[in-house]
Subunit: 133 residues, 2 copies
DNA sequence: GTGACTGCAAATCATTTGCAGTTCG
DNA sequence: CGAACTGCAAATGATTTGCAGTCAC
């Protein structure tokens, strides 16, 4: 994989946020500093990063595909209101996940995805308003 | 929700298989007995069933959306070779899942999806051949 | 120099929608 | 009858691809 300004910018942008942006979101984040950055380039690079194991695809949910710069296995929470995906840091949940991971080899599996569905903090705090995001 | 021949055929077809077919697959299953069945009708009904809680959308993986006639929470395995999704019946895994489910209310979440990624039995048994499915 | 990379525009393909006609209750 | 349903064809929209030019090694 060759270096390129775009490639490094995309990977850095993804790694610099704790959210799990879509290709489109990453593109908007970068377009200000790189006005000619093409959305196709973002897609192409994310695909390559994912194949190279540098980032994780997060596509449970059926909406837009999202990407995670953190490649460790960890549980995600998807908000049914706004579609955001965030990490779940609950100690007990993480512990259970580690126990599940131990079962993987015996089941002939390599990876494990855990996704909770629940309204996120952001939507909770604005629950009484009409929210459009 | 009104009854219709198509609606009942689609739901029965989905419930009669242990696989997790896509809309397209259901359509092909049914087209023989209902030559005029429209793919749009399949999509529309699956969407309604899913909203009504009669079936489950299985869309982890980023490929085609699949549907599951079994609405109980249960772990899925996706095969990276052929894209098939099957149920995982491992006792320990199911036990861990039940423990995870108990954590959901405290986390403000309602549902939990667990997806393993590993080569399925079908692909294993044909491992040495060039498989195209 | 050559193969990988980019931007752009056009293509793809799963899914959704508009519409006119049909069917259920 | 009126609302919900269907088939068909066309629209949508995220993602991918073809191509010609550019850049890294």
């Amino acid at each position: 994989m060759k270096r390129s300004v775009q490639r490094e910018a995309i990977l850095n942008a993804l790694r610099s946020v704790k959210t799990h942006p879509t290709a489109e979101e990453l593109h908007s984040m970068l377009i200000e500093s790189m006005p000619h950055l093409s959305l196709a380039t973002v897609y192409r690079n994310l695909e390559q990063f994912s194949n190279a194991g540098l980032v994780q695809k997060v596509d449970c949910g059926g909406e837009l595909r999202r990407f995670d710069g953190n490649i460790a296995m960890h549980p995600h929470q998807r908000c049914p209101e706004c579609g955001r995906v965030c990490d779940v840091e609950d100690t007990q949940l993480v512990k259970l996940q580690h126990e599940m991971e131990k079962l993987l080899p015996a089941l002939g599996c390599r990876t494990l995805k855990i996704e909770l569905c629940g309204v996120c903090n952001h939507c909770h705090s604005t629950e009484t308003q009409e929210v459009t995001i």
